[in-house]
């Protein structure tokens, strides 16, 4: 049972190591050597545009990749376990108990025919063997901590009776009701109304903190991550191009793409009018260059950038980046 387990075993980090995935019909890998470390009890932000591979990286850890995805190489490890080699049975034991997940669109994440209480308590009852009444109490408590105003009503209701923000908070409660060690949240506020985003994010962070979970927050919004996470990784065209403590990434980014994103974002202060834009658009999978995929859009690119894969430059505690041009900066 997950509750008992938490007390005894020390929690290990969740590590993506050189993960490479390909889809049939494409010559280039869609994930091209993704390396990430989600430390137990800490928060990591994964930043990327659509098509960068941030969602695939998340889905891979959950064993929810599209069937057609071809695993070319690399691992996702939790201690000695390689999550990619698990059979369906072993994976089911892991999901909910060790890994929880929250996705972008709460309206498609719940079964519309079942009450919230039934779907929420399913894992507790059927896997942890907790009697219904007790499971219900655990669910109530989880809903309450996720600031669902009338948790008893929420348990009895069906998904359509809840608002978008409520649904997403119910899903956070549901993903964490069995106290997993890690919570993977893929754009959890993007589909929500602006006014409810803040509250949902707060609940997510609080819940993560209270349960001592490692939280992976996936987003396209550098400022949102800037407010929420301790460490950040920037993904571009299937690779991690920079990572490190959030503060360092926001104040002294080293990869030209990270710098470009920061400069191009509309701000609440500073000059109005034209923004320093990043030219061009992110490459489709088969448009990617063998060298640095950002090279065609990069103002600092050297002729060699298009051909030679940039080596990872480590900054120790401050993370690292993949750019041979800015490496030489003092």
């Amino acid at each position: 049972m997950s509750r008992a387990k938490r007390v005894s075993a020390p929690v290990l980090d969740l590590v993506w190591d050189d993960l490479r995935l390909r889809f049939p019909g494409q010559k280039n890998p869609v994930l091209d050597g993704v390396g990430l470390r989600l430390e137990a009890g800490r928060t990591l932000g994964l930043l990327g545009e659509s098509g960068s591979g941030k969602s695939l990286s998340t889905l891979a850890a959950l064993g929810l990749l599209p069937r057609s995805a071809i695993h070319v190489g690399g691992t996702i490890r939790l201690g000695d376990t390689d999550l990619l080699s698990l059979d369906a049975r072993a994976r089911r034991r892991l999901l909910g108990a060790t890994l929880g997940a929250v996705f972008q669109d709460p309206s498609t994440a719940l079964n519309p025919y079942l009450t919230v209480g039934f779907q929420m308590s399913e894992g507790l009852r059927r896997i942890d063997g907790i009697p219904g009444r007790e499971a219900r109490e655990i669910c109530l408590e989880a809903l309450e901590t996720c600031r669902i105003r009338e948790p008893r009503r929420a348990l009895r209701s069906r998904p359509h009776e809840l608002s978008g923000g409520e649904k997403q908070r119910v899903l956070i409660a549901m993903a964490t009701v069995r106290h997993p060690d890690f919570l993977l949240a893929d754009e959890p506020t993007t589909a929500l109304d602006v006014a409810t985003r803040g509250a949902v994010l707060e609940v997510l962070l609080e819940r993560g903190h209270d349960l001592g979970m490692g939280l992976l927050l996936v987003s396209h919004d550098i400022f949102l991550l800037g407010e929420c996470v301790e460490q950040m990784a920037v993904m571009y065209a299937g690779r991690i191009v920079e990572s490190g403590p959030t503060r360092r990434l926001l104040t002294s980014p080293r990869h030209p793409y990270t710098r470009g994103l920061l400069a191009a974002a509309p701000r609440l202060e500073g000059p109005r009018g034209r923004l320093p834009e990043i030219p061009g658009h992110p490459p489709a999978v088969d448009e990617r260059l063998p060298g640095c995929p950002f090279a065609p859009r990069c103002s600092l690119a050297l002729p060699s950038c298009a051909q030679e894969r940039p080596a990872w430059v480590s900054l120790g505690e401050e993370g690292g980046f993949a750019c041979p041009v800015t490496e030489t900066e003092g």
């Binding site: 602006v194 191009a264 509309p266 609440l268 109005r272 034209r274 990043i278 658009h281």
Partner: protein, 257 residues
């Protein structure tokens, strides 16, 4: 020149017999001005835009283009006015016929608004409008699925600009775009205002976008305009609760000091 391009007085819009979604809305838009309309989803800002474009009929109130009443116009005059205010949609993918080549989609509004033009001339104008927005010749024969989201949003703008409007009505023009593309489109809007003196009504939920390019902004809440001002002032000193909530909902967008 003191007459505003657009003046809206006491507008009320309702869908069917339901309670009105817009109540007592008054606003004015000067030539060459970028006016932001901000608010939560469901506040009525998109309905306002659709009404100004002539896609919804108001229950009461007046919409004056250069001092002339829109609803009192003949069919022909109405069409002339529609040409002058062009709507650009949030989701460019859904705004295009997937089977139509992009250059034909851009030329299509000319069929209505410049029926006397020959097909060759229409095509010429469409190509020029696309080239003006940095869309290369190689894109013109493609269909919507063959180009990126940012490119398609540009095509949407080209289609609006081909009929030489005075105003653009923009419904969340950048919120569906990738972060690295948003700045390109915002810069394009900024430049269009300067090179062509276009007025814009820009609907968005993002106050940072408003501050970046809007001269003035209106906050819409529950079908009413509840606050108006210069964007920076709304950000720094919001007076209405709805504005305050919008400001609070933003990531601060400031670097930690």
């Amino acid at each position: 020149m003191n007459t505003p391009l657009l003046k809206v007085r006491d507008l009320e819009v309702a869908y069917g017999k339901k309670p009105p979604v817009l109540k007592g809305v008054s606003l004015s838009l000067k030539a060459g001005e970028i006016l932001g309309l901000v608010g939560n989803s469901g506040c009525g800002k998109s309905t306002l835009l659709r009404t100004l474009a002539g896609l919804e009929i108001p229950r009461s109130g007046s919409i004056l283009w250069e001092g002339r009443e829109r609803v009192a116009l003949t069919r022909k005059e109405g069409r002339a006015l529609r040409r002058r205010a062009q709507l650009v949609f949030q989701n460019a993918r859904e705004a295009f016929d997937p089977r139509m080549r992009l250059v034909d989609a851009v030329a299509e509004p000319l069929l209505v608004h410049a029926p006397d033009l020959s097909a060759a001339r229409r095509r010429e104008k469409a190509e020029a409008a696309m080239a003006d927005l940095g869309l290369g010749r190689e894109l013109m024969g493609r269909r919507p699925q063959g180009v990126s989201g940012g490119q398609l949003q540009r095509v949407g703008l080209a289609r609006a600009l081909v009929v030489e409007p005075d105003a653009l009505l923009l419904d969340e023009p950048v919120s569906a775009l990738d972060v690295s593309i948003q700045a390109q489109v915002l810069n394009l809007l900024w430049d269009l205002r300067h090179t062509r003196g276009l007025a814009m009504l820009l609907v968005t939920h993002d106050l940072a976008v408003v501050r970046q390019i809007c001269d003035r902004a209106l906050v819409v809440s529950e079908g009413r305009i509840v606050e108006e001002g210069v964007p920076q002032q709304l950000l720094d000193h919001p007076t209405h609760e709805a504005t305050r909530l919008l400001v609070e909902a933003l990531p601060r967008c400031k670097l930690p000091s």
